[in-house]
């Protein structure tokens, strides 16, 4: 492949071929959505079960000195599941990078987006604790912004709709309290991460 006396048409042909042969493959992103989809669904369902069990306990049994057991169990459950998620994700991303030969502008944009979103989740938890409000409405709103933007960037409709469903669940979550809020979160994760994740996995390259 080498020719220096190109006609303008031949030049355009080379440019077109180089750009159109450049296949975007975002199927690998499905692994990340499925991982967090399952981790967060299991975390929210186990939170629901945990809170249901604790709701049968007597008030004095729910205190350990100055600590409220309900809050500790709730926080501990999420920390355990999210830690497992981060460990699995570390090895998953390492493996994905080993096989990656092309880094598109969109890849970089999505990476940057989620790097900004990740600390936003922690800030939202901090704000919620400080204001003594339930974190899910804020968390789902932030998750919705990131997921919908990712869907729009890779032009994948199930992810766009999945991300938008987070907005609906974010509003819906303000109408629920305690254990049932955990069920709303799990429904949001199933609609926003798991279903689009499986659609992405099944999508053609």
């Amino acid at each position: 492949m080498e020719k220096d006396n190109l006609t303008p048409d031949e030049s355009f042909d080379i440019i077109n071929k180089a750009i159109s042969n450049y296949k975007m493959n975002y199927k690998e992103n499905s692994q990340v959505f499925l991982l967090w989809g399952w981790i967060l669904t299991l975390a929210s369902i186990s939170t629901f079960i945990l809170l249901k069990i604790l709701s049968n306990w007597e008030a004095h049994e729910l205190r350990l000195g100055k600590w409220e057991l309900k809050g500790l169990f709730f926080l501990g459950n999420w920390i355990v599941f999210c830690s497992i998620g981060f460990i699995i994700m570390y090895f998953m991303v390492r493996k994905m990078k080993k096989n990656k030969k092309v880094y598109s502008h969109i890849d970089k944009f999505i990476d940057n987006l989620w790097w900004v979103i990740a600390p936003s989740f922690f800030i939202a938890i901090f704000i919620s604790i400080k204001l003594e409000i339930a974190p899910p409405p804020l968390m789902l709103l932030i998750g919705g912004i990131a997921t919908t933007t990712t869907g729009l960037a890779i032009k994948f409709k199930p992810l766009i709709f999945g991300g938008m469903s987070f907005f609906v669940f974010s509003i819906a979550s303000t109408f629920f309290t305690n254990e049932y809020l955990a069920l709303v979160v799990s429904a949001a994760i199933i609609c926003g991460y798991l279903i689009p994740g499986y659609f992405l996995k099944a999508a053609k390259e």
């Binding site: 492949m1 450049y22 030969k101 092309v102």
Partner: protein
């Protein structure tokens, strides 16, 4: 009458490489090789020419304990590509 086309880009292999880089943030050397079907030695020569002109940036790293070359386009490279495409349009449609 027409602006001259950049001789550095007006070559089949170099134009294919630069077009590939315009469409992405970073590309591995092996990917360019598989897409262009050109010999590794030839690609290396063309990449060196583009790098010397400041059109591309070459990063040599290690991946799975093997040397890995990552190539990306520079701002100067993007500008050169845009000028090249604009000049090409003038050749095809001189009225523009």
């Amino acid at each position: 009458m027409y602006t001259d086309l950049d001789p550095l880009l007006h070559s089949q292999l170099r134009l294919a490489i630069i077009s590939m880089l315009v469409a992405s943030d970073k590309v591995e050397f092996t990917h360019i090789q598989s897409e262009t079907k050109a010999a590794a030695g030839n690609i290396s020569i063309q990449i060196k020419k583009l790098e010397d002109a400041g059109y591309i940036k070459v990063e040599k790293t290690f991946k799975n304990n093997y040397p890995n070359t990552m190539i990306s386009i520079t701002k100067k490279g993007i500008e050169a590509f845009e000028t090249y495409v604009n000049n090409l349009k003038k050749y095809i449609n001189p009225k523009t």
